[in-house]
């Protein structure tokens, strides 16, 4: 059960018009190497599902700036003025969800369920009255499961079976996206032999993973960003 693949071949499975979940909250967990390959191959009309739009010039922002993305399903893009401008000019469609609801919609698909009922933002402008039902005598918002053709994820370690471990805040949406997407492509900083991850410490079981590729951490996108640390 060897899931190691060449990066270019793994990304070549993605066609124009695909819906792609991308791990990462800000930079940590963003699969910069997989995204760079997607930029190089040039697939278009993509729908991207990611917590944020990264920052201008890196990660999914590069795909958006290159015109490869038609729609972004996200939670918050406040750290990316270029993407905000593309949204405001109508060049990029953006759907916003509350952050934890976005996470839960992804997980809901991952759990093989259709939707969930929530009271978050029920009476706010984010709720389309058409999504409100009465349930047990009170209103509830139906939040549809959010699935995708692909998930692109960054892991700290992966074994040949596809078991994944994430590190620190690079975990974020990745375990949920691994569950939700039809085809899950992972870049791992460390590829380790099957059996070297304690079964109790696996964050994503290999059943959810289709391909594991190498991550080249020499890309500066994986390093520290200036101005974000204490003086």
């Amino acid at each position: 059960m060897d899931k190691y693949r060449e990066k270019a071949a793994a990304i070549a499975r993605i066609g124009d018009g695909a819906t792609i979940m991308v791990g990462g909250f800000g930079s940590p967990g963003t699969p910069f190497g997989l995204l760079a390959e997607l930029e190089r191959q040039g697939q278009r009309d993509l729908t991207i599902i990611k917590n944020d739009a990264n920052e201008a010039g890196i990660g999914v922002s590069r795909l958006i700036e290159a015109g490869q993305v038609r729609r972004l399903i996200t939670s918050h893009i406040g750290l990316n003025k270029r993407v905000v401008a593309l949204m405001n000019s109508g060049e990029l469609a953006v759907d916003f969800h509350p952050q934890g609801i976005l996470a839960e919609k992804i997980r809901c698909a991952g759990a093989g369920c259709l939707a969930f009922l929530s009271d978050i933002g029920l009476h706010s402008e984010i709720t389309d009255p058409g999504d409100v039902i009465e349930w047990r005598g009170r209103p509830a918002k139906v939040e549809a499961a959010l699935t995708a053709d692909f998930a692109l994820l960054h892991a700290e370690r992966a074994d040949s079976v596809g078991n994944l471990c994430y590190r620190a805040t690079a975990r974020n949406f990745s375990p949920l996206m691994a569950m939700a997407a039809d085809c899950v492509i992972v870049e791992a900083a460390g590829q380790v032999p099957a059996g070297s991850i304690d079964p109790d410490q696996v964050h994503t079981p290999g059943a959810f993973v289709d391909a594991v590729t190498d991550a080249d951490l020499s890309d500066p996108a994986y390093g520290l960003m200036e101005g974000r640390y204490a003086p």
Binding site: I77, I120, G121, S124, L224
Partner: protein, 214 residues
């Protein structure tokens, strides 16, 4: 009053044993006012319980940030988890306190802090869930905006983050409690008169006892 004063006052709201989320902006700066051994766990919605202060370049780990994007350290007893678990903590009501910024906050405890139609709409992030589900929401903001307009209002005019969610408001000018009767003035900035505060505040202020200075 310098923001240090405001932050020092606000830091006293965080009690031993509490689990607290600090919003981006002013609230995050509270971290610097907590004792290094304070018995609190700071939650960050990107998947940390037990955030420590901002890390220096030498300490920083590129995989470890807070929800605002700053590199952080962790405290003893920290844990990492995914975004679904992170918001399960929020929506299940396991936070004791959320400290949030505001564009507007009103006498009913309504909060508006995510959108200015036509000018600013970067998405809701985690604010709606934090505001709606944390048992105690503390708003931390300047009393007036740069144009001098009161952020403390009879009724919010901007799209709401959540309704009737705020318990207490701490600004550079006052500490106000949201009660069934309206906003009650608890403390006033040193050197400010109640009359001057009322001029700077669009909402009605109730006074049931002499406000303390802070």
């Amino acid at each position: 009053m310098p923001p240090e004063h405001l932050l020092r006052r606000a830091a006293r709201e965080i009690l031993p044993g509490q689990i607290v989320n600090l919003g981006i902006g002013l609230p995050t700066q509270l971290m610097a006012y907590l004792a290094p051994d304070a018995d609190v766990l700071i939650h960050s919605e990107n998947g940390v319980l037990g955030c420590g202060p901002q890390a220096t370049a030498a300490e920083a780990d590129p995989r470890l940030i807070d929800a605002g994007g700053a590199y952080i350290r962790t405290r003893t007893g920290a844990s990492f988890f995914d975004s679904a678990v992170s918001f399960a903590i929020v929506r299940r009501g396991r936070l004791d306190l959320s400290v949030m910024g505001a564009f507007e906050v009103d006498a009913l405890g309504n909060l508006a802090n995510w959108k200015i139609p036509g000018r600013f709409s970067p998405g809701i992030g985690g604010a709606m869930e934090l505001a709606q589900k944390t048992p105690r929401v503390l708003v931390l903001c300047t009393h007036n905006d740069k144009a001098g307009r009161s952020k403390v209002r009879r009724r919010c005019t901007l799209p709401l983050t959540a309704e009737r969610c705020v318990s207490r408001i701490i600004t550079d000018k006052a500490v106000l409690d949201v009660t069934a009767e309206g906003l009650v003035l608890r403390e006033i900035a040193a050197g400010l008169t109640v009359e001057a505060l009322r001029r700077d505040t669009e909402a009605e202020l109730l006074i049931d006892r002499e406000p303390e200075e802070f």
